[in-house]
């Protein structure tokens, strides 16, 4: 049974192709249909995840704030995304008079395309990888950089002061957080010896009864934290939602968008978030690897999507708690804390590898990472003078 479930998607694809071949369909159409099916399922799954996430986020936020969250549309509010979709489509799409219409129209498209392209290289299951690329991680960051251009296009073309400030902030934030993101990903790729996501996942196979995920190694844990923080910044989510800082800039670069264009931005942001969660799971949480060999009967793609949903859930949890960073703190944090930590983790991973991955390697990398952390945080809190205040009282 578990074997059948494991290969069900692939079996289904072959069955359909076989059926079509039976009808005497020419070869090149078959390939087209195969590709179409893969792309269709990928986009379908992630749109479904987006719909689910948009309501689950509101419900988790609500529960953290001791209220119910949407519960009117459908059982427990699960049809809320349908309602939101209809609302977004039927809403009037206002374009400011002095806006640069072409760029204003193109921005959501340019935002949506990389978010979808990036889904091609993620390993969803044991042999469920849409596109087998040797340099998958490189492809991910190359295409992922497109969102920065889209955000700036949106901000600049809206001809609105808030949007321009939001766009400037977006550029500063995304560029300065791209660097630590790439270095943290590089660490995992270096240790598993290949840039192909499939190979990285296989390198995190079970070692004895313990799962061989990178997150359980000292350098891996720190690299995962750095990657997670930068993932928050890349997808403009709290505490890095400065471009769309609604308490200062009304809605930042999205101020002049409404109707379906706003929905596209919204969708692109969520799918981008899922994509980077998928990469985080691939690099550090062992992709589709089961935590314990005994749990192998569960199909691999279930593990992958479970971990992605868990990481996305933690992003909502962070959003419910943390306030927004100020622009100079955010930039200072990236360049003065995350980047040095990234380099040190890179070094620690190397020490861990050459010290034979055993307890000696553990101790070495732990020492390096710990020392760097203490040094950097001491400098960090001294510069920000975050001291604890003692208050006088008078009778």
């Amino acid at each position: 049974m578990s074997e059948f479930l494991e290969t069900a998607p692939v079996w289904l694809k072959d069955w359909v192709l076989g059926l079509l071949a039976g009808f005497g369909v020419p070869g090149w159409i078959l390939d087209l249909v195969a590709a179409g099916m893969v792309v269709g399922t990928c986009i379908g799954i992630f749109l479904g995840l987006f719909a689910l996430m948009s309501v689950m986020e509101r419900k988790i936020l609500a529960r953290c704030q001791n209220r119910y969250g949407p519960n009117r549309v459908g059982p427990f509010g699960l049809f809320q995304p349908v309602a939101d979709g209809i609302k977004m489509i039927t809403k009037e799409d206002i374009v400011p008079a002095a806006a640069d219409r072409v760029v204003h129209f193109l921005a959501p498209v340019v935002m949506m395309v990389p978010a979808l392209l990036v889904l091609a290289i993620l390993p969803y299951g044991r042999d469920l990888v849409p596109v087998q690329l040797d340099a998958g991680i490189l492809y991910f960051f190359a295409v992922g950089a497109g969102t920065e251009v889209a955000v700036f296009m949106a901000g600049w073309s809206s001809n609105n002061k808030y949007s321009v400030i939001g766009a400037m902030r977006a550029i500063a934030q995304m560029i300065s957080y791209e660097m630590p993101l790439v270095i943290a990903a590089l660490t995992a790729a270096m240790v598993s010896g290949s840039l192909a996501p499939q190979a990285i996942v296989e390198a995190q196979g079970p070692a004895g009864f313990l799962p061989g995920w990178y997150v359980f190694t000292p350098w891996g844990f720190v690299a995962a934290l750095i990657f997670y923080t930068c993932a928050l910044a890349e997808s403009n989510r709290c505490p890095f939602d400065l471009p769309e800082g609604e308490s200062e800039l009304v809605a930042g670069h999205l101020t002049e968008y409404s109707g379906f264009k706003y929905a596209t931005f919204f969708m692109a942001e969520y799918i981008g978030m899922f994509a980077i969660c998928g990469l985080f799971v691939t690099l550090f949480l062992g992709g589709w690897q089961a935590p314990l060999p005994a749990l192998g009967f569960v199909p691999s793609w279930v593990w992958f999507f479970a971990k992605v949903c868990a990481v996305a859930g933690s992003m909502v949890w962070v959003r419910a708690t943390l306030p927004r960073l100020r622009i100079d703190h955010m930039l200072g944090f990236a360049w003065k804390f995350l980047l040095p930590m990234g380099f040190v983790t890179f070094l620690a991973a190397a020490c861990w590898h050459y010290a034979g991955r055993g307890p000696a390697g553990w101790l070495a990398s732990l020492a390096i990472v710990g020392a760097a952390y203490v040094a950097l945080s001491a400098n960090f809190s001294r510069r920000f003078s975050l001291e604890r205040r003692v208050y006088q009282f008078s009778e």
Partner: protein, 220 residues
Amino acid sequence: MNEQKTSRWSESFAGRLLSGLRFPGAGLVKGLAVTARNFVGSYFEKDRLLTELYPEQRPRLPENSRSFPFLIYDGNDPEAGMRCVSCKICEKECPPQCIYIVQDRDAAGKALKRPRVFNIDISVCMSCQICVEVCPFESIRMDQVFEASSYDRFGSLVLTKRDLLKSNEYYHGIHPTEAAETDARIEADRKKKEAAAAAKAAKAAETAKAAAEKKEAPAA
């Protein structure tokens, strides 16, 4: 003047442990921990969720709650049992001036102790219940009907005498203790008046008797 650390939470064990760790992550973790406790708590501790699901769960209004004024009539005939004697004190005292009273006149033009027109414009009334406070005849009280929205901006926002008049039983229904006190006060006033009337009658009888005796004495 005694010094004190920030306050109670930081004195508790968890607070000291977490805020004691001098690295930047401690505060964030403490915040995340509280949010998680609330998230889990909202499923188990029922008193955390205060939201009333309005149309399904009707709100339980406390007894003193007030929305717009209404007039009280005793017995079952609204017109006859009406307590209001159109003394127009409430019309004068109403801060936003939203009450309008026209005194009733009988055929001969003599003023009657009853209002012919008693309108309250509830788009202006701010339910401050000063009319209730200044009314000497306990004839106007605050209702608890808060669903007074209407589709028509002009017509239905002026409550006429017919809409305002409600029975004393209804008043006992919504404000039991206040209604009981009001009835007691009215009862006491009536008794005092009767006693006074009886006393006056008795005095009148005496003077009549004395006068009669005076008349008889000279006659006799």
